[in-house]
């Protein structure tokens, strides 16, 4: 028996799948009209397709029993508690930016022959963060930062500032903890060191900022919002 035309094989399969446009399909039909071997090839493919459809129907016939087994198995499980992001949008972006940039700096440091110098690392981090935040994040972050500074400036409540600082610290530690749990041991250690360095740097900066804010508050003092309103906002933020 003559074998189908090899050059037509793909086109006949595409024809069966409906993948050809009208002129191409017409050309295939014309070929099939004059070529018995290709017509038989198409017939075999069609039977093969029908066989697959039949296989699907046989599987579908047993689907109900399978579903019953799944539903019975559900009796022993329940939905897990929803994982709520611990840190807010701004802090999350900032922490992620710091950690990602820090990771880049750290990798560079790890490939260098010298041990990690925290002060140099901090200087590199600040330079990297300043350079990288500008194009993509600076505008949004500065706006957010300005808003928060205004809010903080308006507050003479030391407790609020302490709470914010503690929340940021908890966020960083939580993020670092979750990140390090899934990483290799060496990277765990390196990132823990990085987070400690970042945290130390941030605490230092925060104290300086707090002193500056206090100075500004003492010098200006006018147009401040009430402490009660800020406390309410802070409580809502922390709850969220």
């Amino acid at each position: 028996m003559k074998r189908f035309c090899p050059e037509m094989q793909d086109r006949i399969i595409d024809y069966m799948l409906g993948a050809l446009d009208a002129p191409e399909a017409q050309a295939v039909r014309e070929h099939l009209d004059r070529c018995d071997a290709c017509r038989q090839f198409l017939q075999g493919l069609t039977q093969q397709g029908e066989g697959l459809l039949g296989l699907g129907e046989r599987m579908a016939a047993e689907m109900g029993a399978r579903q019953d087994r799944v539903i019975r198995a559900l009796e022993t499980v329940a939905p897990n508690a929803r994982v709520v992001p611990i840190i807010g949008g701004f802090v999350r972006v900032a922490v992620a930016a710091v950690l990602v940039l820090g990771a880049g700096v750290l990798i560079g440091r790890m490939t260098a022959p010298r041990p990690i110098d925290p002060e140099q690392l901090r200087a590199d981090l600040e330079a990297s963060i300043a350079a990288s935040l500008k194009p993509a994040l600076q505008e949004g972050i500065l706006a957010e930062l300005d808003q928060r500074l205004q809010a903080t400036l308006a507050s003479n409540d030391t407790k609020l500032r302490v709470e914010v600082a503690e929340q940021i610290s908890r966020d960083l530690q939580s993020f670092a903890s979750r990140f390090t749990s899934g990483s290799e041991q060496l990277m765990d250690r390196r990132f823990a060191e990085l987070v400690e360095v970042i945290e130390a740097a941030r605490l230092t900066d925060r104290r300086q900022v707090a002193r500056a804010l206090e100075l500004i508050r003492v010098q200006t003092g006018a147009g401040l919002r009430s402490v009660a309103a800020l406390r309410e906002n802070a409580a809502t933020t922390l709850e969220n």
Binding site: Q9, D10, I13, D14, M16, L17, A19, G44, L45, Q47, Q48, G49, E50, G51, L52, L53, G54, L55, G56, R58, M59, A60, M63, R66, Q67, R69, V70, I71, A73, L74, E75, V77, A78, P79, N80, A81, R82, V83
Partner: protein
């Protein structure tokens, strides 16, 4: 069959309503099972992984933000679990694939076809199963697998050719 929308059933399921989740199982299990079968090529393995996927879906239902996207979400879980399972059983799978096909006069063409489908590489088998066994058109398969329609056509064409060659080599076209 529960008449409520996927979104409503997901919302109720988040509260631990097993009846609501059972409605989602009835509606989506077949797709989940066939995706598992498409990857694994084995009914028994597909049953196990499909069940695991549906249970995992219930456990993690509160992480699904858009309830009306449950179908795509649960199929993605099933696909990932299946691929993980395939990796774990790679050695066994390769042994099965390498084994010469058994054949006897008593075997039907359908059994030969099932065997040939099982021997296809999973990346060819999955679109084939979704298209022929699950009845999804090429556009739907492309969306589910995050491929272009032309990519799906190419996979289907290759799968059909390989099936045809396997079956013809046995001298047995179904």
């Amino acid at each position: 069959m529960d008449e409520r929308s996927d979104k409503d059933l997901v919302t109720a399921s988040c509260g631990g309503d097993r009846t609501a989740y059972a409605g989602l199982v009835r509606r989506h299990y077949a797709h989940v099972f066939l995706v598992c079968f498409g990857v694994l090529g084995n009914v028994h393995d597909a049953e196990d992984v499909a069940q695991d996927a549906m249970i995992k879906g219930f456990e993690q239902i509160r992480q699904l933000r858009a309830g009306d996207q449950f179908g795509g979400w649960i199929v993605a879980i099933a696909r990932n679990l299946s691929i993980n399972q395939l990796r774990k059983r790679k050695t066994r799978d390769e042994a099965l694939a390498a084994r010469p096909p058994e054949h006897s006069a008593a075997q039907s063409g359908n059994e030969d076809l099932e065997r040939a489908v099982a021997r296809l590489p999973w990346d060819l088998r999955l679109p084939l199963v979704m298209h022929y066994l699950d009845g999804q058109d090429v556009k739907a398969v492309a969306e589910r697998l995050e491929m272009s329609p032309s990519g799906v056509y190419l996979k289907l064409r290759t799968a059909i050719k390989e099936l045809q060659q396997m079956l013809t080599a046995k001298g047995d076209t179904p």
